[in-house]
Symmetry: C2
Subunit: 215 residues, 2 copies
DNA sequence: GTGCTTTCGTTAGAAGTTATAACCAAGCTG
DNA sequence: CAGCTTGGTTATAACTTCTAACGAAAGCAC
């Protein structure tokens, strides 16, 4: 968030306005969702009128791309201290949930249904793989020692997504399962599909985490 | 799809045009996603111009509501014969996946990030609970006989969503887990989040199903 | 300080969108 | 046949994103 790194006062102003625009955009996304984001509304809320925003962002897509990047970075930043402290699967999972509940639309922006026009740029993939790396680290310590399923055999030959991480196929499998199961509960909860059902999604989430830990 | 049930020729025509509109809408959704659906584009593709559609649907929201209802009904119709034949968890799960892959946007329309303005009407919940009922039936036969987790204790007291289904808490838990795990893999796959990773999502899906079966 | 240049913000306008209103031409019905 | 209902049309309003052209202000060189 603080890329105001001592340049010309012009650039400083520019960076500050860009940040303010993103701030407004996040507010709007938090209330109405990403696909309802309106450049005009942002401009009006900032006191500027209409096309002034195009001095700062080439268009709606570039703004969304920037927001997606920020969201990924925010998640990575939330997880990194835990990962560096050697936190396990459980702590990481609950951190993800906490981060998602703090701003549901932010989670849905990056892991939900993709916005029609937008396509992820390359610099997203490196942050995404950082997050995946932290998941792999957390899964490395608790090995499930099951029989090598056909999936793990397949993963042994298709491990490009793990980068240079030296995890055995069983850990790759475990990280994938961690990711998809957490996302399964979280996304349905955030999208409101548990709304009228009456039970506590948090308990289901912790039950999934506990199951992953063999409890 | 065939609700042309012998009325006045006027109503027959009306129903046919409504069906044709939905047909066009599905085409458009399949290519660009639900949030990019344009009434004008549908009208133009049908040879009619603009506001003529408002004779058939009150607005974008009503059309989407109708499409959501059709999608739920379609999923229920795809699962019902299996459920009535006493199919187990495995067959049901793969049927869900097949249905989802046949038209990804249709799955994402009902289980993905909700469209901004729209709110589900009541008649959706009955179809949704029919689907949940079939999941519960499929889970009833293979009991996992684990220790009663705190979640299952909670579910024993919050089982309103299961309707009148006589499933014990362990089965409620199992159905919930089935639903969220399948959705976790499916939604990430359909949203394209496995795109650059290189592995086969189908194997991950079947691995999750197999794990659910205790294999 | 004076003048040049870059940048910012503005208004105007084009091409879209959803949605309403008014009108006209059909068709079914008494 | 008369009349009412219904379908489709255009015109309009209020939006949206985005481009173009203009004025003003700020920074920089001298």
């Amino acid at each position: 968030m603080a890329e105001t790194d001592a340049k010309s006062p012009r650039e400083r102003y520019r960076a500050q306005v860009r940040a303010e625009i993103k701030e407004c955009a996040w507010e709007q996304i938090a209330t109405a969702g990403a696909s309802a984001l309106s450049l005009n509304a942002i401009a009006k809320r900032m006191g500027m009128s209409g096309p002034a925003l195009y001095r700062y962002y080439a268009g709606r897509d570039e703004l969304i791309t920037e927001l997606v990047g920020d969201a990924y970075r925010s998640l990575a930043d939330a997880l990194r201290p835990l990962s560096e402290a050697g936190a396990g699967l459980e702590a990481l999972a609950h951190a993800v949930r906490g981060w998602a509940l703090a701003d549901p639309q932010r989670y849905l922006l990056i892991y939900g249904t993709p916005v029609p026009g937008y396509h992820a740029p390359d610099d997203i993939t490196v942050i995404s793989s950082q997050i995946m790396g932290m998941l792999l680290d957390a899964c490395a310590e608790s090995v499930p020692d099951g029989p090598a399923a056909p999936l793990e055999e397949h993963l042994a030959g298709h491990r490009g997504w793990a980068g240079a991480h030296p995890a055995p196929p069983a850990v790759l499998h475990r990280a994938l399962v961690l990711w998809t199961r957490l996302h399964g509960v979280l996304s349905l909860e955030l999208a409101g599909h548990f709304a009228g059902m009456g039970f506590d999604p948090g308990l289901l989430f912790t039950a999934e985490v506990d199951h992953l830990l063999g409890r």
